[in-house]
């Protein structure tokens, strides 16, 4: 782990959404640390609550249905949940920046690229002069070939990859300490994804910021992350350094997820599957939330709160039978 103090600490975060089926808890007691200069991935499938976690940190939950119930979000030791809306607005886009999955809709179609990049500087106390100058630098930095031309272009004139570069430029405008990237490459082709991921890594090294990478793609996690939190049904079920997670996954869900990936060596055989569905976020079951789909489930799994247990000194997993199995089956 890093020696530096974490720049972002999330403690026991619980978030709920009011839905027509009742109150849903997509984020239910989530904690993690993000260290400066590191990339932490939150990986999970749809319905795991990973995106709501990101939106909770930014306090951009869907209006009027989303609320943070309890917990702490500490940015350099200061709890963001104690701030007023206005104080929070000053952090957003300044210390905390976010990029989204959909580079098509994240940009306003009626303003030029230059205008939108410059605005993020102006919004935090710069002049338009400074903004324009900084916009040119930023567009150059994110690998635009002719930045002075791009400044005058409109979003629809750019490809998806180029738009995502613009989004990154906007996010970087005020040298944020933390960048939250919510599925930043999901809408892009693989070759473009590779370019964007390389760019993010380069910039992260150069500026020393921390990145919280929200994704469903285990390949992206393996390429990018230093630490990984695996989320399932509103909880982090496994938390480990990236090498340990892929070499010796501990939680049955992580193991099953890795086993279900298609690969050449499985040709001609059935892939491992995870039967059943994620339980409803309006009524989480007692005990382990993966119990109904887990091949190692025992009666004790469905009773009481399942604590995080540390194994091998580095991996935390939320499973009472931890250490009794590995990839490929039960340990001998």
């Amino acid at each position: 782990m890093s020696d530096l103090a974490p720049v972002l600490e999330v403690r026991n975060l619980r978030t709920y959404l009011e839905t027509i089926r009742g109150r849903a808890w997509p984020v239910d007691d989530v904690s993690f640390d993000l260290h400066p200069g590191k990339i932490r991935a939150i990986v999970g499938e749809s319905g795991s609550g990973k995106s709501i976690t990101a939106l909770s940190i930014m306090q951009l939950l869907p209006e009027p249905a989303g609320f943070i119930d309890s917990g702490q979000i500490l940015l350099e030791g200061k709890d963001l949940l104690d701030l007023t809306w206005n104080e929070m607005r000053q952090h957003r886009g300044h210390d905390l920046a976010m990029i989204f999955q959909e580079p098509m809709t994240s940009l306003n179609p009626v303003f030029t690229i230059g205008n939108q990049v410059a605005e993020s500087v102006v919004a935090h106390g710069g002049t338009w002069e400074q903004g324009k100058k900084r916009a040119l630098e930023l567009l150059e930095r994110v690998g635009m070939e002719r930045p002075e031309l791009v400044l005058r272009q409109y979003p629809h004139e750019l490809s998806g990859g180029m738009r995502q570069r613009v989004m990154i430029a906007i996010a970087l405008a005020n040298r944020p300490k933390v960048l939250i990237a919510d599925e930043p490459t999901t809408a892009l082709d693989v070759t473009v994804q590779a370019q964007i991921l390389s760019l993010m890594r380069e910039i992260q090294k150069e500026m020393g910021m921390a990145i919280l990478l929200i994704t469903h793609d285990l390949g992206v996690v393996a390429e990018m992350a230093d630490d990984v939190s695996v989320m399932y049904a509103g909880k982090i079920v496994e938390d480990a350094p990236v090498r340990d997670l892929f070499r010796s996954p501990q939680h049955p869900y992580t193991i099953d997820l890795l086993e279900s990936l298609p690969a050449r060596q499985h040709r001609g055989q059935d892939l491992a599957v995870i039967e059943g569905n994620v339980p409803a976020a309006t009524a989480w079951p007692a005990g382990c939330r993966y119990a109904n789909r887990c091949q190692y489930c025992i009666p004790a799994c469905t009773e009481g709160e399942i604590p995080m247990v540390t194994v091998n000194g580095v991996t935390d997993a939320r499973c009472i039978r931890i250490g009794q199995f590995q990839r490929g089956g039960v340990k001998a």
């Binding site: 994804q193 992206v220 393996a222 690969a263 050449r264 892939l271």
Partner: protein, 271 residues
């Protein structure tokens, strides 16, 4: 095996009108001179990035889009210029499963209606009750329970909807299915279920697949033969080993190098 069931010969598609009343000339060549064969019982993957024209080839193979040039021959007959009855007969033999499990089912139709509609058109089954019984069997075949018959698409998860879409394609007992990104919108754990299902159905029913996708890991697992498309053309073709182990074209090499490795020890990007 070995007998080609679908032959695509020098297929081309130009979109847009040449000129018209008060219209400017705006043409785009989406597919250029594409040829490929699919043998019986085989899975041929058509791989490419967005805008490569792979889905357009799929629509032309289905006969849903008229090619600008070239031919599609299915089971010995040309798909392009068929009369009413022959056209309907062809519809029974080639089916399709699309990417988006939310958009590919009509939200206002129950599963029963979706599954029996094709049977009715092709006069499969003797009565409504018989067709319903067949629909129930189909549902069990794709891993759903017959209770699903009375439900609407939005009551299902993405993976379950994709199973319904597969059952609908199977409802007219086709020989050939065009799979247009069938797992791209699904979670990995669900993707593996759908891939297993597709492989089992292929084995049991002797189906042939044209598998259109951008996901190279799925191709490596599923396909017998791979065609890599870029900008409307097939740039490279071959078996799994030829494409993945010894790619010849720069485009293919670039594509393969862009796939994130699942092994953190073997990082390729940036670091």
């Amino acid at each position: 095996m070995s007998q080609p069931i679908l032959q695509i010969e020098h297929l081309g598609k130009v979109f847009g009108r040449a000129r018209g009343f008060l219209r400017k000339d705006s043409q785009k060549e989406a597919v250029k001179d594409v040829s490929l064969d699919v043998n019986e019982g085989q899975t041929v993957a058509l791989v490419g990035e967005s805008g490569s024209g792979k889905s357009t080839v799929g629509l032309m193979a289905l006969g849903l889009l008229a090619p600008s040039s070239g031919r599609v021959i299915f089971d010995g007959t040309s798909v392009v210029d068929l009369g009413g009855a022959e056209r309907l007969a062809l519809r029974r033999k080639i089916q399709v499963v699309f990417q988006d499990p939310y958009g590919s089912l009509n939200g206002r139709m129950t599963v029963r209606e979706a599954l029996t509609e094709g049977m009715m058109i092709h006069r499969i089954g003797t009565s409504d009750a018989d067709r319903e019984a067949r629909a129930a069997v189909l549902l069990e075949d794709v891993g759903l329970t017959p209770e699903a018959l009375n439900r609407y698409p939005h009551e299902f998860s993405g993976g379950q909807r994709q199973r319904v879409a597969i059952a609908r394609a199977l409802s007219v007992e086709p020989k050939f299915i065009v799979l247009d990104e069938p797992t791209s919108a699904l979670d990995v754990s669900v993707q593996s279920q759908v891939l297993n299902l597709l492989r089992r159905l292929q084995r049991d029913r002797g189906l042939s697949y044209l598998f259109i996708t951008h996901n190279l890991a799925v191709v490596e697992y599923m396909a017998d033969y791979v065609c890599v498309m870029s900008k409307g053309e097939i740039v490279e073709r071959g078996g799994i080993e030829a494409i993945f182990d010894t790619p010849q074209q720069d485009y293919t090499k670039g594509l393969l190098n862009s796939i994130p490795s699942i092994d953190p020890e073997a990082r390729r990007l940036g670091a």
